[in-house]
Symmetry: C2
Subunit: 444 residues, 2 copies
């Protein structure tokens, strides 16, 4: 059994003591939220709850990953939004910081992993400049099978690949991850004989990281995907109570909702860890796309949503912190702490001339970062800024699995508290239609 991540709201109560009373006041709403999410789960609408237990799929994914490892030097993930952000989260949190710059030996023979979630042709050309297509596998991921950015990139890369290695070997280099029943990618994959993984129909893109969407590229780079699932399952088990004091995901949602009602229209997530940089981006999509909704009830419309903002400690103390402290009180802060790092550095004595720096010497770099974490927590609290923390004992597949599930569940609860559907994204359709029209798609 690995260690648990923890949500600690003590600074929130210190900064704004009346929050405690409010948590108790909203208990009936919180209970309703848990029951509503449970009811949806029981109806089979929330497939992400099942992902942590899909051992069979994990086995197949690992087998495929082994095959890719033995044949290819690079894996390019082609996706966008929920079909890319989770991959980047896992890769950044759990692989070496400069993974793609390591030698093959340093990577224990695992392929380099690139994630293409852009349709900037200068980016695409740049990627092609560093890839030997003969040694590159492609994992194209789109649930609908027709996401325009993903399929445009895929068609271009498939064309280049076929020209380079021939259609047969090209088909062997492509793994498609898509819906099980329909879509253009599914049809193409079947006719061309691509390897196929499915995204369950009841799992939306931004809730799909623990399916084949996120797990295949993770496994290819040597990440322990089973531990990710075990960690996620631990959070499921820990978050069943209707009592916020017994359910950290519910407490997180309660705090965020109380903050929202007090005018905090911005939700800052601030990990003190470079490895959690893309956890921040993944969170931003999850929070924005799930909760940014126009709620219609009884003829009136309410525009709901809290804008997520990523900040990285200590870096953004030199960028955003001034605004956080002296600017408008329009934010709620989640600080994410990592208690232990893998590596340690002792700061040596400065040379002559550096006597003002002598206080640093003998201290570790980790202590400095931890001290800055505590300092930020203190100054926010001293100014009455709503903040709480999530602590990871250390970063590993098990704690990252917990963190991912904690936030998916918190988002589901928030959807209920907001009274919106946290699982659709109706507004983006209008832009797609305009794009289709501009691109000359028949019927638009």
């Amino acid at each position: 059994m690995g260690e648990r991540i923890r949500l600690d709201y003590s600074k929130m109560l210190q900064a704004v003591p009346s929050v405690e009373e409010e948590i108790n006041k909203v208990r009936p709403e919180l209970m309703d939220a848990v029951e509503a999410v449970q009811a949806k789960r029981d109806k089979g609408l929330l497939g992400f709850f099942d992902l942590p237990y899909n051992d069979k799929e994990a086995t197949v994914i690992k087998e495929t990953a082994e095959l890719i490892k033995s044949t290819f030097e690079n894996l390019v993930v082609i996706g966008i939004g929920g079909s890319a952000l989770g991959n980047r989260l896992l890769h950044t949190a759990l692989n070496h910081r400069y993974y793609n710059n390591l030698t093959a030996a340093q990577r224990s023979g695992c392929p380099r992993v690139f994630i293409l979630d852009s349709i900037d042709s200068d980016h695409l050309k740049g990627l092609l400049d560093i890839l030997d297509l003969n040694k590159t596998a492609f994992n194209v991921i789109t649930k609908s099978g027709s996401t325009v950015e993903t399929m445009a990139n895929f068609l271009i890369l498939k064309g280049l690949l076929e020209r380079e290695v021939g259609p047969k070997r090209a088909a062997e280099s492509i793994i498609a991850t898509t819906d099980a029943a329909h879509g253009s990618l599914l049809q193409m994959a079947r006719r061309s004989g691509y390897r196929l993984f499915h995204i369950p129909g009841n799992v939306g893109g931004r809730y799909s990281v623990l399916s084949a969407v996120g797990l295949l590229s993770a496994a290819v780079s040597g990440i322990d995907i089973e531990e990710l699932l075990v960690g996620a399952a631990l959070t499921v088990a820990d978050c069943t109570s209707t009592d916020p004091y017994q359910n950290p995901a519910l407490m997180g949602a309660a705090l965020q909702h109380i903050a929202y009602r007090r005018g905090k229209n911005i939700s800052v997530i601030m990990p003190y860890s470079d490895g959690l940089d893309y956890f921040g981006d993944w969170y931003c999509q999850l929070w924005a796309e799930s909760l940014g909704k126009t709620k219609e009830s009884g003829g009136s419309k309410a525009k709901m949503g809290q804008t997520p903002l990523k900040a990285i400690g200590a870096r953004d103390q030199h960028s955003l912190l001034q605004l956080f402290l002296d600017g408008p009180d329009d934010k709620v802060f989640t600080l994410i702490e990592v208690e232990r790092r893998k590596n340690s550095f002792i700061i040596p004595e400065p040379s002559e001339g550096g006597k003002d720096l002598r206080y640093l010497s003998g201290n570790t770099l980790e202590k400095l970062l931890q001290s800055e974490f505590k300092a930020t927590e203190s100054v926010l609290t001293n100014r009455g800024r709503m903040n709480y923390k999530v602590s990871l004992p250390h970063i590993c597949a098990h704690t990252i699995g917990q963190l991912i599930f904690l936030y998916m569940l918190m988002t589901a609860y928030m959807g209920e508290l907001f009274g919106v559907n946290a699982f659709d994204q109706p507004a983006v359709e209008e832009g797609k239609i305009i794009t289709y029209r501009l691109m000359g798609r028949p019927g638009y």
Copy 2:
């Protein structure tokens, strides 16, 4: 003469027609802002105005860059905040997308460039895993000479370097960029004989990218730093009028300020270009740290500031756009368009099974991105969301120089319109003191 970047506010007037009237109503304030900035410039307080004309410094920087190129395979920039974000902006905008993954020949012999603005020991260890210290130069950048994160990293790296190559060669591998008159780094540099570049006393960190702070690592990687300065000087010349219709920086500030007064407490910057990703981060620091201030006047305190948020098109259409469209009307949007890319890709016919994608074939990837840009602009405007655009004819040192200066100047004007000092950062001192105390610094 290169081409000009342009600010186009037509969609703003289409989305919210009353803005036009308001621009005219605030003309006296706008005039005052221009005159106040000019007065500060005349007093020598705003050193960033002089940077575009410092040809002599540029020559020395280029000579040093040549020396580094001829001796080293890697350059590590050690800095944080304004001593790192500008470097990353230039590197990402103007170098190859996968610059550090290119072979030395592909880089024309220019060193790889790494920017260390983190004190995460796992990050530092990762960096050391891929560096041969024998072949690595370090540019340590801190204006005060005692920025704790920068100097902690520097002391550690200097120690490792001295152990690897000896103190003499270590000193030859270090370039210090700091204040000309005082500070620990200056003292250490003088006593150890490091190469030295100075940050003018009247240039703050977040306004320093066009000084040696940003230019040295840019020149080392082959960026045309003189064109950057020429571009910046073009913006200076184009932005002197007190008439917002004749001064794009002033128009930008006017639009942002009008939006702020209408409750848009979030300023979204959304470039449709991967190369401008870190321009976004640089902008976030500039906007947040310059304008996030508590204004005291007549005994009352006003908490000012607009929270900057970066989004990247088309990627974040699949992440944040849903919130932008259906969520609260609390944002003003700057869309950044790049009209021409260096590379082009034609989307080929889909294979059998992909008939729904046939509309794409024959179109270019660039047209797709441009269509998505127009679609986002349209849907924002249709919903009455305040938005305007900045257009770059293409990305090159000349247009990036213009863009940088446009935003520095816009920020200076905004400071005047807000009635705050856009050039200090008083709130972050408190956290520094707590950190010093936790690290055992005498006197704290």
